[in-house]
């Protein structure tokens, strides 16, 4: 009990030391990359730990065109692809979630099992037939070739999460709207969507991060360099840039920067989105 009366005990110091040590592992590697991204390659080789002697944006400028690989173009591709996936998942997942949350008949139970089962299927195991389907549909080489499988992969999670959210909404507004003669779509867009904003934002952030960060599907479904998302280009930099370490570090920073900004500003939502469904309550 004597330890309790002191303001800072020896045990507290140990505790903070452990926590700060782990914090260092999560922050320092990226700071090291950031620091070196402003140096020219020979300076990285000489002094990988020191601050740059002068701030050089050379590494960033050479990313604009290096062979047929433009990281900034990849960034734009990622925004097009992940943006579309977010919209489609929220729209179709929202529709399905509304049915699960409000419509009451046997079908909804089956639909729930259908989505839960789909979540268990690992993306690796089904890429070969998916690629065959995309080729048959003539989508090979288009953005849709990645947008559709990613949307399908994320729909089950988003639907079940959104259904859980929509179940908690009060039903009175919808009843009033039905008496006023509103149709299902009108009720969905005018009542359910505005009330579900917090749930939709959480789902949107998870879907965006997952899609933006996905390497496996992107690698397989988009073979055309000009349309590849940034993650694929990042996975190729070590072979394309050879020993150009500065360029690799700059590419790394460009890729993670949007995610870090998103995380810093929307922390609560990001954590909620990423851990939603892990543990209920």
């Amino acid at each position: 009990m004597s330890g309790m009366t002191k303001k800072f005990s020896f045990v507290d110091v140990i505790k903070y030391l452990i926590l700060i040590l782990w914090a260092c592992t999560t922050v320092l590697p990226l700071l090291w990359v950031l620091n070196n991204s402003f140096k020219e390659s020979n300076e990285i080789l000489l002094n990988p730990m020191k601050l740059p002697s002068k701030l050089s944006f050379f590494n960033y400028s050479q990313l604009i065109s290096y062979g047929n690989m433009n990281i900034f173009r990849g960034f734009l591709n990622s925004l097009i692809i992940s943006g579309s996936v977010v919209l489609l998942v929220l729209l179709f997942g929202g529709f399905a979630a509304y049915v699960i949350a409000r419509f009451d008949f046997k079908l909804t139970g089956i639909v729930k099992i259908f989505f839960t089962g789909a979540m268990l299927v690992p993306a690796f195991s089904i890429v070969i037939p998916s690629l065959v389907i995309l080729r048959k549909l003539g989508l090979n080489g288009s953005y849709l070739a990645l947008i559709l499988p990613q949307t399908a992969g994320l729909l089950p999670f988003a639907t079940l999460t959104l259904a859980g959210f929509m179940k908690t909404l009060p039903v009175e507004l919808e009843e009033a709207a039905i008496i006023d003669g509103a149709g299902v779509l009108r009720i969905f867009f005018r009542i359910i969507v505005p009330l579900s904003i917090p749930g939709l934002v959480t789902a949107a952030i998870f879907v965006f991060l997952w899609s933006y960060n996905d390497l496996f599907m992107s690698l397989i479904f988009i073979p055309i360099r000009e349309k590849q998302p940034i993650c694929v280009l990042l996975s190729l930099v070590s072979s394309v840039y050879g020993t150009n370490y500065g360029a690799m570090m700059a590419a790394l920073i460009i890729t993670v920067l949007p995610v870090i900004i998103l995380y810093v500003f929307l922390q609560e939502y990001v954590i909620k989105g990423m851990t939603a469904g892990a543990v209920k309550g």
Binding site: T26, W32, M49, F105, L120, S125, I126, Y212, L234, S235
Partner: protein, 290 residues
């Protein structure tokens, strides 16, 4: 609520989602089983039925064995270290007076970054000439060394795999700990139970259901490991760090043997179903209510 009994509306709203999931998840799932019985190369139009040949080949394949062993080693390490470190960090953060929010922010940070970026970061840290590790070694007067060898490759990819998701489980544990009612701790304090004893005898049993959920998530998660391994070692050298995902990718897209790759896909599905059933059984025990 007449409208909500109308099946036409319900099916109309469900249709886009059902269609996409059927076409891009359920159909490919069955097609993978089907393809696994064929000799099929280079995505050609011709497949030859070969029965169980691909499965026989799989049993004899050294790389498959290696990938399986690596996946199981990864599973054990992830449970012990990823979930373990997360639990220890959460217990510590829960017991300190200030800095809760700061540590939560910083520890979760690697979770949101892509495995590709994490992989490249560690690839650069392990590099011989300019890598962070060798820079630290030489700063302390040591010798530079080659970090990724046939013997060390698995460990070198395991470190980032484990490290990245510690923050994920940490946040879940932290939420669970905040729900433990304070009067339980107060009565423990009266009985003189504090510190590590309190964690082992009181806190951990109280959040045991959350711990088992995390363990089953971690188990299922190891089947999805790809990006980090792909970027750091590509599964090599000599299949030393091969996992099921990287091997399937190699067979299907550089080896161009889609029939055999499908059989590996079936292996991943079956293992995934078996392990998630087992872990669901383990987590099925009743939730503790206070």
């Amino acid at each position: 609520m007449q409208i909500l009994k109308n099946k036409k509306y319900a099916i109309g709203l469900l249709l886009p989602a059902l269609l996409l999931v059927s076409v891009f998840i359920y159909y490919p799932l069955f097609a993978t089983f089907y393809y696994s019985f064929f000799d099929w190369r280079d995505f050609s139009n011709y497949k030859t039925f070969v029965g169980l040949n691909n499965y026989v080949q799989m049993i004899q394949d050294y790389a498959v064995r290696k990938a399986l062993v690596n996946t199981f080693i990864m599973m054990v390490c992830v449970i012990v270290f990823q979930v373990g470190i997360a639990l220890v960090l959460a217990l510590i953060v829960d017991s300190i007076k200030a800095g809760y929010k700061f540590f939560r922010t910083v520890f979760f940070f690697p979770v949101v970054i892509s495995g590709t970026a994490i992989g490249l970061m560690f690839y650069l840290a392990y590099a011989y000439d300019y890598g962070l590790l060798n820079a630290i070694m030489t700063a302390f007067g040591g010798q530079k060394k080659v970090w990724v060898t046939e013997n060390s490759a698995l460990i070198m990819v395991l470190i980032p795999v484990i490290w990245q998701y510690v923050g994920f489980y940490f946040v879940i544990f932290l939420a669970a700990l905040s729900k433990v009612p304070h009067d339980i701790y107060e009565s423990a304090l009266i009985d003189g139970i504090t510190g590590i004893k309190k964690a082992i005898y009181i806190t951990i049993p109280l959040i045991w259901d959350v711990i088992t959920v995390c363990i089953s998530l971690a188990i299922v998660g190891t089947f999805k490991v790809f990006d980090i391994v792909y970027v750091i070692t590509g599964g090599g050298p000599m299949d030393a760090s091969q996992v099921l995902g990287t091997y399937l990718y190699k067979i299907a897209f550089t080896g161009q043997n889609q029939g055999y790759a499908s059989a590996i896909g079936v292996l991943i599905i079956v293992l995934g179903i078996i392990l998630s059933t087992i872990s669901n059984k383990l987590t099925e025990r009743e939730t503790i209510t206070y």
